[in-house]
Each structure stands twice: as C-alpha cells, then as structure tokens.
C-alpha cells in the first residue's frame, strides 16, 4: 500500500535534508528525555512512598487518645462500614499487663488482643494465634530470649481484698513479628484470652478458665413505665416526672392501650400514664426516682419493654408483671407468687412463671430469647395457673433480657444465673481499608467526640510532596515545551520559506491549498514521532541506570512510568507539534503557483 502523496512528499523532503531533520529530532528528544526521566522519578518516588504507606498497616491505624466506654453494639456498627478493614476492642492499659517467665527472665509485657484478619500481624510475617497461642513483637522476643515454637509461662496477677492473687497460663509462641510492626515489647493473644485477663484483673471470676472471683450480674433495664393512679396528676406533677428521672415523655393513656400491653384490665376510674425515654433504656434508678416522686399517691408502677422476643412452645405470649398483694387486689387479680418488683431479685426468684391452664403439667419450662450476639436459653419453674391465656413471668426477668438487647449477657448453667458478659470496652485498634479512607474515618470519630490518633499527617505530607513535585515538573515541562515549540516553529517556518519555489511547483502541478497546508504539519508530526522514539530510548537507558544505582539503597524502582504515560505523552507532543506547525502551514497557503514561474 502506498502512503498518501503528501505524507510521502513530507517524508522524502525530511529524508532529503536528513541532517537538519536529525538535528531537529535530537533537539526535541533532548527536551523530552529529561522530562520523561523527571516524571519517572516523581512517579517512582511517590509511588514507592505511597506503597510503603499503603503496605504498612501502621499508617492505616486509628487509635483513640483517651479511655472510652464503648459497647459491643458500637463495634458491631463499625464492623459494617466498608472503609474499615479491621477493628478490635482493646483493654485498659493497667489490665493488659502480664508477667512472662522464661528460664532466663521474668518480665512484665503488654498484652494486645487480636483476632482473624489483623493486618498488623498478617503484614508483618505473623499468623493469627489460636487458643493458648500467642505472637510476640520482635522486641518482646529479643528481651525474653525466646523464639517461635517456644512455650512461655505467663502469670496474671491482681490484688483482691488486700490479698495478692494470681493465675498461670502457658502460651505457645506461633510467630514473631518483624521489627516494623512495633518497636515495643508486646504479646499478641486471642481476644477472648485478653478479655479474660482483664476480667480477672478487675476481680471478676472467669468460669471457663476456673479463675475465681466475683460475679457480675446484668442490671435491669426497661423502655418505660406505666403508672396507674386513683386520681389524676396535675400538669406540674406530670412534668415533674420527666425531670431528673431519665424519662423524657409522659402521656395520658387509656384502658385499651394498657390492656394491649399487659392483657389485664385497669381498675375503673384510674388515671393511666405512660412514661418513656427516647433512645436509651431506663434503669432501676429511673424507677426509684419515679417511685419517690409519686410517694403517698398509692401509684401502681409497671415497667415495660417494647421489643423483647421470648419464644416458648405453642407460640404463647410471655408477659412480665411484678405486683404486690395490695396491687393485685386493686387490679382484681390473684396474688403473684413472686410478689412486688424487687430490684435485688436473683435468678431463683426471676425464674418463675404462671402458665395457662392446659399447661400446668410442666414442672419447668425452657424459654428462649433473642439477645445481642445470639439466642439465650434458660429454665423457668411452673408456679401454677396464669389468670389469662399468656405466660406470666416476673418483670425482673424481662428487664434482664432487655439489658441483653444492648450488651452481652450469658446464662451460666452451672451457677444457674444470668451473667453480664463484658459489656463495655475502653478502646479500640482499627485499620482503615486504605490510607485514603483515613481522613474520612478521622472526621467520623471527631464527630462522635472520639479523639483519635492517625497517621493522617504522614499521608498529608505525601500529598503535599506530590503536589509540590507536580508543580515543579510542570514548571520545567512548560519551559521545555515552550523551547521545543519555538525551535519547531522556527525550523518549519524557515523550511517553508526556503521551499517557497518547490511549494509553488507543487501548486502549479495541481496540488490544492489544503494539500500543501498539510505538508509542514505532517513533517512536524514525523519529527515528533522520531523524537519520542529517541526520548523513550533515552529514558529507558537513564531510568535503568538510576534504578540500578539505587536498588541497593531503596529496594524499589525509583524511576518508573506506567505505559499509559508514554501513550499520553506521545499524544500530547503530537498535538503540540501540530500547533507548532500551523504558522508554517498557513505560510504555505500564501504561496501562489505563479511564484514557481517567476523566479527572479
């Protein structure tokens, strides 16, 4: 296939004056090559630094600056975010120190909780420890003189009732992290273990490990109170009930509504009020506060919950009611075996139930309830007949289950009691998915009033450096490009000026204005294509030299460019060359065919 005539003429002319062409090509290549190298250096160094920032999870870490009180629910919510790679609660500093004994040494080491997916461990040559295993920071391994595979004796100590107590645990070292992970001595152990250590240190018992200590019973909580009164409250009294009681709303209610909640009728002529708190559940102290304010008014106070699901056989409803004998009399009900609401009730008094008539044959009954983190099962004793079609249980039991909605509770079979699993955490260790997510998370925590430490400054520094280097590059590039354009314009213009007669001959032979117009444009494009080839060759030579020179010290390629950049530069330079040739091109159109004839 033959090239179009003008293209061929443009090439042949450049070839004819090959020395001039070569000079021009080299001149432009001499501008492009250093620009490519500069761009490569900028890209390479920024890329290297960015990769290091990216690779090192430390730069994606977010830690709170002070002790917090965070619920499991809070952690659950954060785990849903897709800009967080990993989050784990941490324990108080004082509760996380254990004594490690090796044949050589005894030393206190900080204990850090970890679990599956911890990038600090996974990105630093570690593996996630399982039960009775641990991972050591390189400093810890060095100080203790231990290696992977060793088993260390750890001792958790506490002072309780003025007595020093301690428990021992053996942990197997499954990995030692590289020094980049943490410069301090740290032991990384499964979260459950660290949690137990904290519980023990705080004086609590850890039954699973047979560590002695106190029990923590879950507190009671409710969504609000129903109040039944023989006479109406004044509006001042009404408002008074929402002041300092933790209850925010008071509303006059009606017998129907009351019946919907408890399936019992309210006494005639009694005023009914519903007190509730928006958002947070109310505690026993709220109930006591309300009781105090209503003293002497013979009020019946009935705590209630909204969404505690209890399941049992036959899809029976479970209603929580605790009333004194006089109160059941007022309501026209038989007396309840467990009597009035008792804030200090234990599971023995809570696990009672009145069952509908047909079910009286069961001595005990298992109830299941949805709580935070799963289902909880517990037994209740059949205390006789219910006065309606529902199962009636003490409201204290329901209050425990309500607490279980927001914080973790367990039912301890051995001791026959509900126990509070650890409810709150004092801090967290979080890794954002990428360093670019850090600023966003940072503002999220600040808006939640949680002061955090991030490497945001490091990331910002890199961005500023990148911006600065980009500016310098463009400054140099603009000067270079301007010089190159000037040279190209001059060369092409002079060429047309010299070839006036030849252009005239071409016109005389019948080439149109538009055809000769393309002549210098094509030449400019050809020159720039050749220049690019020279420049890229030059860049490859120089960048390889730079990379070889620095590979020992830096480790990565510091002068590198993705292929798309070459393509982009190629296109940009061609566009610039077209602009540069326009003056010469315009000049050709002014050449008349007559000029070829009239030589003198």
């Amino acid at each position: 296939m033959k090239l179009p005539i003008i293209t061929r003429l443009a090439i042949l002319d450049l070839w004819h004056e090959w020395i001039l062409t070569l000079c021009m090509v080299l001149a432009i290549a001499a501008i492009l090559t250093p620009l490519l190298v500069l761009l490569g250096l900028k890209y390479g160094t920024i890329q290297t630094m960015h990769e290091r920032l990216m690779e090192d999870p430390v730069n994606r870490e977010i830690r709170p600056t002070r002790t917090l009180n965070l619920t499991s629910k809070w952690f659950k919510q954060l785990e849903q975010r897709d800009d967080i790679e990993f989050i784990i609660p941490t324990v108080l500093r004082g509760s996380s120190v254990i004594r490690v004994s090796t044949p050589k040494k005894r030393q206190l080491v900080d204990l850090v909780p970890t679990h599956q997916g911890d990038p600090l461990i996974l990105n630093n040559d570690g593996i996630i420890p399982n039960k009775n295993e641990c991972v050591l920071s390189s400093a810890a391994a060095e100080e203790l003189g231990v290696k992977t595979g060793d088993i260390i004796d750890t001792e958790v100590t506490r002072t309780r009732n003025k007595h020093k107590e301690s428990v021992q645990v053996k942990l197997k070292i499954v990995a030692i992290l590289n020094s980049q992970a943490d410069s301090l001595a740290k032991i990384y152990a499964p979260f459950e273990f660290v949690n137990d250590v904290e519980a023990y240190k705080e004086g609590r018992a850890v039954f699973e490990r047979n560590w002695p200590g106190g029990k923590v019973l879950p507190p009671l909580s409710y969504d609000g109170l129903w109040i039944l009164l023989a006479q109406d409250l004044t509006s001042i009294d009404e408002i008074n009930l929402t002041v300092g009681t933790g209850l925010t709303d008071i509303k006059r209610s009606y017998p129907d509504e009351f019946k919907q909640q408890f399936f019992i009728a309210s006494p005639d002529n009694y005023a009914i009020y519903k007190l509730s708190a928006t958002g947070n559940p109310i505690t026993v102290s709220s109930i006591n506060a309300v009781k105090n304010k209503l003293r002497g008014k013979a009020a019946i106070i009935l705590p209630f919950v909204n969404n505690v699901a209890i399941t049992t056989y036959n899809q029976l409803k479970v209603i929580g009611l605790s009333l004194s004998k006089s109160q059941t009399d007022i309501l026209g009900l038989p007396a309840l075996p467990w009597g009035k609401f008792d804030i200090n009730s234990n599971f023995a008094s809570q696990s009672q139930a009145l069952l509908p008539e047909l079910d009286k044959k069961f001595p005990t009954l298992t109830l299941t309830s949805e709580v935070l983190g799963g289902k909880i099962k517990f037994p209740v004793n059949n205390q006789g007949l219910s006065f309606n079609k529902n199962i009636i249980v003490p409201i204290e039991l329901i209050g425990i289950l309500r607490t279980g909605q927001d914080s973790k509770i367990i039912f301890d079979q051995a001791q026959k009691t509900f126990l509070s699993a650890k409810t709150n955490y004092h801090g967290f260790r979080l890794y954002a998915k990428s360093i670019d997510d850090v600023p966003n998370l940072y503002s999220h925590f600040i808006s939640q009033d949680i002061d955090v430490i991030t490497q945001i400054q490091e990331i910002e520094k890199l961005k500023v450096l990148n911006k600065g280097l980009t500016r310098i590059f463009w400054l140099i590039a603009i000067i270079g490009i301007a010089g190159g354009m000037a040279a190209l314009i001059a060369s092409l213009y002079a060429s047309v000026e010299r070839k006036k007669r030849d252009v005239g001959v071409l016109r005389l032979m019948g080439l149109s204005c538009l055809q000769v117009f393309r002549f210098p444009i094509y030449q400019a494009i050809i020159i720039v294509i050749l220049s690019n080839m020279f420049a890229i060759t030059g860049y490859i030579v120089i960048s390889s030299t730079i990379n070889i020179m620095f590979i020992d010290r830096v480790g990565e390629k510091i002068c590198t460019l993705p292929y798309t950049y070459f393509l982009l530069i190629f296109v940009i330079t061609i566009i610039i060359s077209i602009f540069s040739s326009l003056l010469a091109a315009w000049k050709t159109t002014a050449i008349e065919p007559a000029e070829a004839i009239r030589e003198e």
Binding site: I5, L9, L12, D13, W15, H16, E17, R501, D502, V505, L506, R507, L508, M509, G510, L511, S512, C513, E592, P593, A594, A596, I597, R598, E599
Partner: protein, 239 residues
C-alpha cells in the same frame, strides 16, 4: 486541420511593483493543437506575465474573452470572476504542463519520483515514463536527485515531466537559458517533436529568436513603450 485550444481577446494585465507600473496588452492570441509557439523578447517585456496568464495562475485585470476549448468550451474569464480556484487548479493539473527555467524539479525527489509525480497527482500510473526516458536518453539517471544532474539533463527531465501526464499545453519558460547552444538546440528539437507527435501545444518563452525560428509555427514578440518614468506599456505582436 487546425483545432483551436486556447483563445484570448483584449486581455490586459496591470502590475505594480515598487512604484513602477507595468501593463501588458494582448489583443489576440489563439493557440491551435500541435502548434509550436515561440514568445520572444528581452527581459522585462512581459514574457513571464504572459506565461502567468496562460498558466491560469494570474488573474488578468480586464479581458474581453478567455476561452479554453476542450470537449466543451470552458470560459476561463468566468472562472476567474467567480473565483473558481478549484476548477482552475484542476484545469492546470489535467491539461497543463510546465517547464521552468531551471527545470522546476523538486530537489527532494529522484528523477523518477519527479517524473511520476504529475501522473500521480492526476491519479494515474504512467507505464510509459521509462520508455519516454529512454527516448530522451535519461534512463540512466532515473534514481539520481536533481542536484546531481547537468543543466541539460535537468531540462530534459523537466520536459519529460511536463508531458508525462499528456497535457494539452506545455508552457516552457526559458528552458534553454541554463544550457549551451548545442544542448539548447536539442531541447527545442525535443519540444518540436513532441508537439508534432502528440498534438501538444508548446508555448516556449525565450530571448533567443534565432534558436527557435527554424522550429516555431508562430512567433510572438512584444512592443514595449515607456509612457513615462513610472509607466511601461507592452503589447503582444505576431512576428
């Protein structure tokens, strides 16, 4: 039998250069098929101006008639007035060949490339170029660039290029100026042969009357009169 190809009547070209005015008047000029036309005159008499007009590259200042007869009548005057540059360029390309003083060959093309260019611009391949080159005794220099040719060789290449696309009219501007007498004679003989063999009109501008006299079918001269210091008038005469 004479076939009229180009006809000019009362064409005037007015040129101003550096304060001096020059006027060329062509009362009547008819070019017939196969004619060898010599235009003789000293420099400054309007030879080039006439050539510009005939070559369709210079617009006359005023004219009565300017027709080109091909299979149909083409009104050049109208084309100029309607600024039909494209049509004029096409006419130039198809029907006109040019031989310039020093050949007008493109320096960056070889002889062969130069020869092929005219046909190529017109969009056809000329297989006879090599044969013609042999006849004009230039087949051994086809791959050379014009700068390495002698004046005579260059002119022969130029003539061959001018006829390579079979034009109706060949305009030659002092084609013998750069060669010695013997070679000049050869060139003129070549032109004459072409004119007769192909029926091509040759318009040859020269200052050497004696040289063309034996071959020319028609010879034109100029009557130059200096009207004033700044105005020179010239008119074409049949000799």
């Amino acid at each position: 039998m004479d076939t009229l190809v180009l006809e000019l009547k009362n064409v005037l070209k007015h040129r101003e250069q550096g304060g001096a005015t020059f006027e060329l008047h062509v009362q009547q000029l008819q070019l017939n098929k196969g004619q060898f036309v010599a235009v003789v005159g000293e420099s400054g008499c309007g030879k080039s101006t006439l050539l510009d007009i005939l070559a369709l590259v210079s617009k006359p200042t005023s004219y009565e008639q300017f027709n080109y007869y091909n299979t149909e009548v083409i009104n050049i005057k109208q084309l100029w007035e309607q600024q039909q540059e494209k049509t004029l360029a096409k006419l130039r390309r198809l029907h006109f060949g040019y031989v310039l003083q020093t050949g007008g060959l493109l320096p960056f093309l070889t002889v062969l490339q130069n020869l092929q260019l005219a046909s190529e611009i017109n969009g056809f391949q000329d297989s006879e170029i090599k044969k013609l080159a042999e006849r004009l005794d230039i087949s051994n220099i086809l791959n050379k660039k014009p700068q390495y040719l002698s004046g005579g060789q260059r002119q022969r290449v130029a003539i061959l290029r001018a006829i390579s696309h079979r034009p109706q009219i060949i305009l030659a501007d002092e084609p013998t100026a750069a060669v010695d007498e013997t070679r000049a004679l050869h060139i003129i003989e070549d032109f004459h042969t072409i004119a007769k063999e192909n029926g091509t009109i040759i318009v040859m501008v020269t200052h050497n009357h004696n040289l063309v006299a034996p071959f020319a079918d028609v010879t034109y001269g100029f009557n130059v009169s200096d009207v004033s210091d700044t105005l020179t008038k010239s008119s074409l005469l049949k000799l």
